[in-house]
Symmetry: C2
Subunit: 193 residues, 2 copies
DNA sequence: GTAATACTTTACCGTTCGGTATGGTATTAC
DNA sequence: GTAATACCATACCGAACGGTAAAGTATTAC
């Protein structure tokens, strides 16, 4: 009995995710959230708990979506080298096309919250570890198909590529010349051989 | 005429730098600052202007000190390969030795402020560009001495190494297993040949 | 229809925020 | 010594913060 929730919880969470992604945790106020989510303050508390809990839910939603997106992109191409190239180049294209650089929600959180909050240290670490495994599996596929050298250290290489991806994502926030980023991508992709 | 300033401005700025470095801009309050700097609130305003201006002064102090520190480390070793290795390994050691990961003040600022404040976009970009030139000069020295291959693209390589350095610094905030970082460093250093 | 229930809305809570006006105090120039 | 000056410390400002109590409203079960 009783009334049913009027707003779409998933849709509201998505709006919160966009906002936290853009502005980070501290700089996002509850007023920002209510106006963007289209619901009132107590609705946030009844549906999600509080600001921190809402942030965590938003981050979880983001990391799950992002991981499966990356997995798909790397699997869609029969050539592993081409798959990584397209992935990196698309990433750069998107950041330079948009007027604004959101970067990666998980990376932003690693910088803002992970050093002071163990929950987010763990959450972001697990996401990065998961991505590095996705990278590793793609590289191992390339080794099995003969596209990549047999002697390749798939684990170390995937970890280095992930670290480079993070570095790329972060430095683009300072809007360096496009050639800077393009050069870096070329050097990284040359590791795949 | 009139009274002279009682506190050491440079020392107070240094305390502010440490605090902003640890906690970022938004999460650092004026109360935090006054207690750590050992001075009262109006003294901050008369000496530095305001919170944003104090932050900027602290960031400038940091980037200048950091750049010259890095330049020194890369010049101190006759072998460029060894210089980069020591530089990266020391960086990792320091982060894993301390219980707490401050990372790099400029990188933290790139993530927190650069996307929303052009002044810090420019400031952080210029610092990164400066570092990449330091890297490039080191690599070019290595090419002249014959330690590195003549065909090396010094510019692209230095940019890629800088991007990797940023990625390393950031991912360490999530405290991955040490082997993860060590592996990445090995792959990156292998680019120097 | 009725009573119970759970959501929405409004208004408000104490606290903390960045920033400043004010008054006391030490130092300077003369 | 004296007057002018500039720093220091306290107290305070309005605004915004995260969070919640209370009242109104729609929906449910019976």
């Amino acid at each position: 009995m009783g009334r049913n929730r009027e707003f779409d919880e998933e849709q509201a969470l998505d709006a919160a995710m966009q906002l936290f992604w853009e502005k980070g945790y501290e700089a996002t106020s509850l007023s920002d959230l209510t106006s963007r989510m289209g619901i009132q303050r107590p609705s946030i508390y009844s549906a999600f708990g509080g600001k921190k809990e809402l942030f965590e839910a938003a981050l979880r939603k983001y990391t799950m979506a992002r991981a499966s997106e990356i997995r798909t992109k790397l699997q869609n191409n029969p050539s592993v080298k081409q798959a990584f190239r397209t992935f990196f180049e698309d990433l750069v294209d998107e950041e330079y096309t948009e007027g604004f650089s959101r970067g990666c929600f998980s990376i932003n959180t690693m910088v803002e919250l992970a050093p002071h909050d163990e929950k987010f240290e763990i959450l972001t670490r697990e996401h990065q570890m998961y991505l590095s495994v996705i990278f590793q599996e793609a590289i191992e596929r390339g080794m099995q198909s003969g596209e990549l050298e047999q002697g390749t250290n798939a684990k170390a290489l995937s970890q280095a590529l992930l670290v480079s991806l993070i570095g790329l994502t972060v430095i683009m926030k300072s809007r360096p010349e496009r050639s800077f980023v393009d050069n870096s991508v070329e050097v990284m992709l040359a590791l795949l051989k």
